[in-house]
């Protein structure tokens, strides 16, 4: 018999507020709530609750809350309850533990250990409500040799670049891992915002080709959905070498999520597991990567920038240097806190490095080598607020990828059970009755709101620093100071400690 494991969370219902409208019951795909006709009251089965807060949010009388169970094993600083339970689970079932979304462990968050500067007296802050405050930028190579035409005008010899209205893009999330409606919301928001969303490795649904101008298509190790039209429709092509949530391993979308539509989009059989290998089997070295970069450029007549996305790992600076010399236009670095629809728990929680440190190292390394103009740097995993974006840019990033924040805007409550496919918010599921819970009309507006709000905040912070273009913030590390950091961390981040003068 399986070891009984006490539920982690408990549903608390205030009986004086519950009007037994049964919304909670109707909205819980995990079947936690039920109505007892004998007592006329609602009841809950805590063991099924994943703490997604759907019921809490929809309860019209706010009668519900979810609390952490205070059930405990004997206190043990080494063997905490979660660790023990994981052993029981594995002993019960014998499997690899699966998790979703980003690493939840209490590692330091370096964004929170950096503070931003502001102007006082010697240099005026700029009021973004009165003065232009530019967050528009271009991503891509900037390596040029000035050439002029017969009239002396500078010729456009620039490689293809991506124009962004704000230094924010939606990270790769595949159709399959997230729903059709979630994809539609992302695509429409990207279009309205003048930024980009990313197909992930799930191909591009035929309905979304019309958003091509704002679409980055991914070419990953499984090559799902990759064909001529897919590449040609996109604004840019991203080669996914790795993902922050699970560096060094591939992907696995269970057959249950391969609906007819997903199967058509991914170009794989319906109902069969979609497995992305850990490596690209045609890329075993940097030279191989270069070949793929140029193959894709050839295929698209050198009209589209190619992005290479890697997970932030220990040797990231050297890897980035290699990529910068591979012909890629943009490097995307995904930190170890990046999200995922499913990853082995141990990988998610123990592999990779913080994106803040990776970014600082990569930017410094590329500058040292004089090749920073060869590539733009985009970072993600995890960028949680406009302040993180400002800090990332000041450290040297050109732009940020946001994934988890975008999903939160769509309703995700970070219950981290995407892998179960029963997302009550209609995001990480393919079940039609659940998918419809995410109305893209609402979703896209919330995404637009989020990015617009962040952009305003970025402008406010830039204005405070007396900087009126995001381009003048890029790599402007004097605008950052560290707090609670060791000398080593300060050195890697390339910033001074708070209180140290200019």
């Amino acid at each position: 018999m399986d070891m009984y494991i006490q539920p982690e969370y408990e549903v608390v219902r205030r009986e004086d507020r519950c009007i037994a409208c049964r919304v909670c019951e109707r909205q819980c795909a995990n079947l936690v709530h039920s109505f007892d006709p004998e007592t006329g009251k609602m009841q809950a089965d805590d063991s099924k609750c994943v703490n997604c807060h759907r019921c809490v949010c929809l309860c019209p009388t706010h009668a519900l809350k979810i609390v952490k169970s205070d059930d405990t094993y004997r206190q043990n600083a080494n063997w905490d309850g979660q660790t023990i339970n994981e052993v029981y689970k594995q002993a019960n079932a014998g499997g690899v533990l699966l998790s979703s979304m980003g690493n939840p462990k209490p590692f330091p968050v370096f964004w929170d250990k950096m503070l931003v500067n502001a102007s006082q007296v010697t240099n005026p802050p700029i009021d973004p409500l009165r003065e232009p405050m530019e967050t528009q930028l271009y991503l891509g190579k900037r390596t040029v040799k000035i050439e002029r035409d017969e009239r002396g005008r500078i010729k456009n010899t620039l490689p293809p670049q991506l124009k962004l209205s704000a230094p924010i893009m939606f990270s790769a999330m595949s159709y399959g891992s997230i729903s059709y409606n979630a994809h539609e919301a992302l695509a429409r928001a990207a279009e309205e915002l003048g930024i980009y969303y990313n197909t992930g490795e799930g191909g591009l649904h035929k309905d979304f080709y019309k958003y091509g101008k704002n679409t980055i298509v991914q070419v990953a190790s499984g090559r799902f959905g990759v064909f001529k039209d897919y590449l040609e429709t996109a604004a840019a092509i991203e080669i996914k070498m790795g993902q922050g949530a699970k560096p060094g391993i591939g992907g696995h979308l269970p057959g249950a999520k391969i609906s007819a539509d997903v199967s058509e989009t991914r170009m794989i059989p319906e109902g069969v597991d979609a497995i992305s290998p850990a490596p690209h089997h045609d890329i075993y070295s940097i030279e191989d990567l270069r070949q793929l970069v140029y193959s894709l450029k050839e295929a698209t007549e050198y009209k589209k920038p190619v992005i290479v996305k890697i997970a932030a790992v220990h040797n990231v600076a050297a890897i980035a240097s290699g990529i910068a010399r591979s012909g890629a236009d943009i490097i995307a670095i995904d930190g170890y806190r990046g999200g995922t629809g499913a990853a082995p728990t141990r990988i998610r929680d123990n592999v990779g490095i913080p994106v803040e440190l990776a970014l600082a190292e990569v930017d410094a390394r590329l500058r040292e080598e004089g090749i920073r103009d060869e590539v733009s740097i985009v970072v993600g995993g995890s960028v949680r607020s406009s302040a993180d974006v400002v800090k990332a840019i000041a450290l040297g990033a050109d732009a940020c990828y946001i994934g988890t924040a975008a999903l939160l805007a769509l309703g995700c409550h970070l219950c981290r059970t995407c892998h179960e496919g029963k997302c009550n918010w209609g995001i990480a599921t393919q079940r039609p009755d659940l998918v419809k819970r995410l109305n893209p009309d609402i979703g896209y507006k919330r995404l637009v709101n989020l990015v617009t709000a962040w952009n305003h905040e970025i402008q406010e912070m830039m204005g405070g620093m007396g900087i009126n273009s995001v381009e003048a913030l890029r790599g402007n590390r004097l605008m950052l100071r560290g707090i609670g950091l060791t000398d080593t961390e300060l050195r890697i981040l390339g910033i001074k400690y708070a209180g140290e003068s200019l």
């Binding site: 004086d16 507020r17 519950c18 009007i19 409208c21 049964r22 919304v23 109707r26 909205q27 949010c57 929809l58 019209p60 009388t61 009668a63 039609p432 009755d433 419809k436 819970r437 109305n439 009309d441 609402i442």
Partner: protein
């Protein structure tokens, strides 16, 4: 005029609109206090049929059969286009129920009159409360 329109594609069948309707009618500020232990008689009703759900309430027809058929003059169409019922005039004959093609007008729970959606112009909600609280924009209040 602004009407409530239904988009069944997005209706989740959560039935919140029914509760919000009933709550709006009470004029109270706390739903728990207003509805706890009560049987609600909302003027919007959700039909559930497998995975299909949609809400139905008065369409405020341009050419409202209920108004034309009302034997007491209790039903009228205002200059704002809203079809209203005067409960004091209504005798509960249900001719309106018999003629409404949408089944959107119904006997009031007390049995003495009919009741119908008046787009929350009969309370202090401002916009129809069902629309304001629909979690998925399955009902919208707009000009079309």
């Amino acid at each position: 005029m602004k009407r409530i329109y239904v988009n069944e594609k997005w209706c989740l069948g959560c039935h919140l609109c029914e509760y919000e309707c009933a709550f709006a009618a009470t004029g109270l500020s706390d739903m728990a206090k207003a509805l706890k232990g009560k049987r609600i008689a909302p003027k919007i009703r959700v039909e559930d049929c497998g995975d299909i759900h949609f809400a139905v309430n008065c369409r405020h027809c341009k050419d409202a059969l209920c108004v034309k058929s009302c034997i007491s003059g209790a039903l009228s169409k205002g200059e704002d286009g809203v079809v209203r019922i005067d409960r004091d005039k209504c005798v509960g004959c249900l001719t309106c129920v018999l003629v409404c093609p949408y089944g959107a007008i119904m006997p009031a729970p007390d049995g003495h009159a009919a009741q119908k959606c008046q787009l929350c112009t009969d309370n202090t909600c401002g916009v129809p409360n069902c629309v304001a609280h629909c979690p998925n924009n399955a009902i919208v209040f707009e000009e079309r």
